[in-house]
Symmetry: C2
Subunit: 410 residues, 2 copies
């Protein structure tokens, strides 16, 4: 089955927002085993939507549109799809009822414009919008299908997952189950080499996605209705875990390293403190991102100046004089000092040179030390990172969480 994405919206064409909808849908179609050959974006203009729609339909089995479902005259996706298939529009009463109820709940009046959102092509399968006002639809004709989704990412994703995925699986006559294994501490090309023979399998399939300092392996099995995917996925997962070892830190579509670490700390009731120099609060902020973090993070220190490192964390003047603030010794004393001051079970510290200035031949930009203090003692790890200021700080956070995970067996 071949799919195309047609994004409709002048705000995309003008670059006011990035097309993250297209990215999300593409990724999910890949997981579902559906081939995708093209993305197109056009503005809210009837002629250009008409033209792009006809082209996309001619090239593929299913076209997924996003956007153009709002209440204004500019919003014309449904109308253009109806026109393409020669269908009339009618008022879809359940959509109107849902819309009326929603607007009433928000204390707003139904306007003729809003009513437009409940108009549907005759014969469309309507997809209610559980997160917003504009319902979507699936329209079939001439052996092809157009799935019409709203533009706002939260609404689009909810409708895609709950309503479009079952349709796509039904149409393809198969179900694709996917698992996501998250890996940190082995780079993408190294991981690819280790797993090279596993990429040749046609079912289940394996794909790697990389982000800052991490790699996600997607394992997808294609099964017939009622069949179990576990017998295909279990052996592959076991094989990857055996080869990548402790670098695999968890499973789940949306898992992040910070969430894996924080959730493990919460589960084991281990409290943590942070002492940050170059990351400057980013590490603590990543922890606080995870709901429930207040149970394990009491406090964190951003100690940029030497004076603050001494006063708040008890880093010794000798250390700063003899080794400097960017040193393994200082990182260790920062972590140990934070653990002591916060009276926590463990602590992580960061110190380094994020750039763009401040580097020297002995201590170049990208030289970073991460300190880890646990009940068993204190260690520091030396890192040589490349990239701009923000990237060096990002990678430092990832490395700090990963070192903590490995040392605390989280």
């Amino acid at each position: 089955m071949i799919a195309e994405i047609l994004s409709i919206g002048t705000e995309l064409l003008m670059g006011q927002i990035a097309n993250t909808d297209a990215q999300y849908i593409s990724r999910r179609l890949g997981e579902l085993g559906i081939n995708i050959y093209r993305h197109s974006t056009v503005g809210d203009n009837p002629e250009r939507v008409r033209e792009a729609l006809a082209e996309s339909i001619s090239r593929s089995d299913i076209v997924i549109t996003t956007g153009g479902l709002g209440p204004t005259e500019d919003d014309l996706t449904k109308e253009m799809v109806a026109e393409h298939f020669g269908l009339e529009m009618y008022l879809h009463q359940p959509s109107l009822d849902a819309l009326t109820e929603r607007l009433t709940r928000m204390g707003r009046e139904m306007t003729p414009n809003n009513k437009k959102q409940a108009m549907m092509p005759v014969g469309a399968r309507v997809m209610p919008n559980l997160c917003g006002t504009a319902p979507g639809a699936i329209v079939e004709g001439n052996g092809k299908a157009v799935a019409i989704l709203p533009g706002p990412p939260r609404e689009m994703q909810d409708m895609f997952e709950r309503q479009l995925v079952p349709y796509l699986e039904g149409r393809a006559g198969v179900r694709i189950d996917s698992r996501f294994l998250h890996v940190c501490g082995i780079g993408e090309s190294k991981l690819e080499t280790i797993l090279i023979d596993l990429f040749h399998s046609e079912n289940p399939t394996l794909a790697l996605y990389c982000s800052a300092g991490e790699v996600t392996a997607r394992l997808s099995a294609r099964v017939a209705d009622g069949e179990e995917s576990a017998k295909l996925l279990d052996p592959l997962e076991n094989e990857i875990r055996a080869r990548a070892g402790r670098a695999v830190y968890g499973e789940g579509r949306n898992l992040t390293l910070a969430a894996a670490v924080v959730n493990a700390l919460i589960e084991k009731n281990i409290t943590i403190a942070c002492a940050e120099s170059l990351t400057g609060g980013m590490l603590a902020s990543r922890i606080v991102d995870v709901p429930g973090a207040s149970a394990i993070l009491n406090e964190a220190y951003v100690t940029y100046s030497n004076e603050a490192k001494m006063r708040l964390l008890g880093v010794s003047e000798d250390t700063l004089r003899n080794y400097g603030a960017v040193s393994a010794q200082c990182a260790k004393e920062m972590a140990e000092g934070a653990r002591r001051a916060a009276n926590s079970d463990c602590a992580i510290s960061t110190t380094g040179i994020a750039g763009p200035d401040g580097g020297t031949p002995e201590k170049p930009v990208g030289l970073v030390y991460v300190g880890i203090a646990t009940p068993d003692g204190c260690e520091a790890v030396e890192l040589h990172l490349r990239g701009d200021r923000r990237w060096v700080r990002e990678l430092t956070c990832v490395n700090a969480f990963n070192e903590l995970r490995l040392r605390m067996n989280l």
Copy 2:
């Protein structure tokens, strides 16, 4: 002049990355007064590139491609453009020399694959890549033009700005000068209302872009070569400043509120401290994002627990008992305590309920207090924010910086 963007790369089509290149180029073309009617994305596949290229060229005056300039066989943008215009490829010696020099500097060998990156269509205007290995090109034919840019955003943007913009301006026979005014404290729709009549002008033009808690106004003037744009832009800028007042916090394409505040603090030699509860380090991290921040930020505290608020910041037990941690009183004591403990000129604090849990009828999710301590005293601002955990924290940071800016006249 009508333009289209053609993005080439399987990683885009598979959703491994979002198409931020298309967003960047679209936005810049808008600023340059060039109309853009479509974005298309295809994978690294000769047939589909060939087809999409022909379509894009037929519809527009100039096609801007990104991607497909790498050293592998899959990378075929230049070859497809040459084929379209019936041009041979030849080895462009200056590109080969630059490539050799770059690889040597990085301690790598020149391979036959790399050599491919120096091949160019005959007659192309070559655009050297000042940030990477793959040079770009502009190819003209039949009154149309194709501009070939690399895919990595940093390389693309540098080439676009330094080399393609002058070409586009020359081709259009005009120059577009833009200014960017940044506004915080007035929402987008309010600002639109205040400035409504100014949007009708055809030259200069005015457009608004919004991001978390902020709005950017773009003022663009179209002028002939050698003409001054200031006489068009100055009156418009003055008018906007007069109407929006102190909500205008600065000027410049890439200015951020955090950078404006930090740079003003650096310039005035004012030191700052942070005491963060719900933002959990995000505020300090935004400050540290700005190069040179170490001159004005000595330290920051993430005080999540009541105990930490008392011990590190001297918040009184009575305050926590009588008003709670989420209160104006607590925010004030946190800011004042941070200012005192860090011995800084000013301090900002945040406390609130970011959600998803923890809200009550009296103190719902989104209730936030920001405290500002200055040499003139201490105040707290109550905010009622909407959105998910991350968004509430983002908006809190924006509000905190803005309150500081207004109170300190930064």
